[in-house]
């Protein structure tokens, strides 16, 4: 069976959080959808709450400390990302943004991403489209057409609301699995192995000066 790595970034602040609950539902559905495609998924969950101070330190010092580095490596080394945030003040949370601010801006290029968000009411749902999708477009990721929003009411009761959430999770997971399975497994970037030789850097500098 082929293998792929899925990194799950969850920015929920309470424990347990509905953000993590949605992240787990998306993860389970994605793992199942990948298995149907003959791909075994290895999942690593990054709970951003645990790195709140480390992320603030990274903003100030410019480097990720030893606690934060494995979390960043998990995401930059993944074959697909499930990113879920609560909606605060009409957008993703500050903690969620901070994490993607300290990830190297080129490290996620081309990676499939499934976006999810939670909030108290469904009136926040378009934050996924007007705030979160541009963030991942800037990072040059490939975002699934379906993004999954869960309001409080989606978690309860019977009928249309919860049924709708389940089918959105299923559809989004299928889309992510399709993208992840279609790409070769991610190779860890090595800035030293990938560095250009000096002749390439030099180009023909100064050689046009004869005569």
């Amino acid at each position: 069976m082929e293998k792929r790595r899925i990194a799950v970034v969850s920015a929920g602040l309470s424990v347990p959080s509905s953000t993590r609950l949605l992240a787990d539902r998306l993860t389970t559905a994605t793992v199942a959808a990948l298995r149907r495609r003959g791909v075994e998924a290895e999942v690593e969950v990054v709970e951003l709450r645990e790195y709140a101070r480390d992320l603030a330190d990274n903003l100030v010092t410019g480097f990720a400390n030893a606690d934060l580095r494995p979390a960043l490596d998990a995401v930059t080394g993944a074959d697909g990302i499930i990113a879920v945030t609560p909606i605060f003040s009409a957008s993703y949370s500050g903690l969620f943004k901070t994490f993607f601010d300290v990830v190297d801006k080129d490290a996620l290029t081309g990676k499939p991403v499934l976006m999810g968000a939670t909030a108290g009411t469904a009136r926040h749902s378009l934050a996924l489209e007007h705030a979160m999708r541009p963030l991942f477009a800037y990072l040059r990721t490939v975002v699934t057409p379906t993004a999954v929003f869960a309001a409080s009411e989606d978690w309860g009761g019977a009928g249309e609301a919860s049924h709708g959430l389940a089918s959105r999770i299923e559809r989004a997971a299928e889309e992510l699995a399709e993208l992840v399975a279609a790409r070769p497994a991610t190779r860890a970037a090595d800035p030293f192995a990938d560095a250009p030789s000096f002749e390439a850097l030099l180009g023909g500098v100064g050689t046009a000066a004869v005569g």
Partner: protein
Amino acid sequence: MQFGVFSVSDVTIDPTTGRTPSEAQRIKDVVTIAKKAEEVGLDVFALGEHHNPPFFSSSPTTTLGYIAGQTERLQLSTATTLITTNDPVKIAEDFAMLQHLAGGRVDLMMGRGNTGPVYPWFGKDIRDGIPLAIENYALLRRLWDEDVVDWEGRFRTPLRGFTATPRPLDGVAPFVWHGSIRSPEIAEQAAYYGDGFFHNHIFWPAEHTKRMVEFYRRRFEHYGHGAADQAIVGLGGQVFMRKNSQDAVSEFRPYFDNAPVYGHGPSLEDFSRETPLTVGSPQQVIERTLGFRDYVGDYQRQLFLVDHAGLPLKTVLEQLDILGEEVVPVLRKEFAALKPAHVPDAPTHESLVAARGAKDSTVYAPADDVTGQAPEEAA
């Protein structure tokens, strides 16, 4: 092995007194610090270059020239000279001039500079940082190594029949280090020319330093300058010392907590664990510094940052006393005992002259140089 101090030339409020020194005071103080470095037996004093407050050092060769006139032995260097936004012609002229005045006690370190607005202030674009560093240095090398240069590049006006004056002292250009925290391209550049590579080794975890130095050493060998362990490596480092380590920690903490670069972020303890910062007794500094060799190999130059973040002059001079009396003599002995014979020392003017031979490289103008007539017109 060479030991010294380097200054970033910041004018910073002393958080324990609320006083901010004037530029006039800091400029006088930095001269005092350099003279003290020689007095306590250190080898090198290096000065940064900046073009924005709160830094005063826009013109390092002026300051270093003045220091050269008041010292006898001290090697004068920079940390760093901006190879991106300075005209390489002016770098060639300024440092050759300084070299003559200082009797050869000069080397310099190239850096790109990471302050965004400085680039447009000097008519450049920060996105060209690496290409500027590559092209400008290629020109600088030729201006020093060739008496008459024809040049055409992307970033400056072409040169036809140009001679940078004065010619380097004894026909030997100052030794060059290239400094970079994280760009393999710059380590590659240092390796290509067989120049030195310096890692700042202050702001980032040692793991970054290790990988950059390993890469530089491997490429130095690739380009045929010698074995990897013969490449010329320099490191920065940041220390604060008192006889009792707890006194060092409590005295330095307010300066750390309010430092412009990393203040209000990680704790002193976290930062000491994550980076090479050492705050403690002289013995702790000795042990930590000897440990640098474990991940970069035998290296040639160790510079400490001791004068920054608002530390008063009196404290800085005390730090220099401790370095000179208790720390550096032990480090010299210990590093020398560990270093194999085939690993070279850092090049100096004397060693470069010994290797290449001295010559008077004055270019005597064939035409009437009083009227400034060009050789072509006279011919």
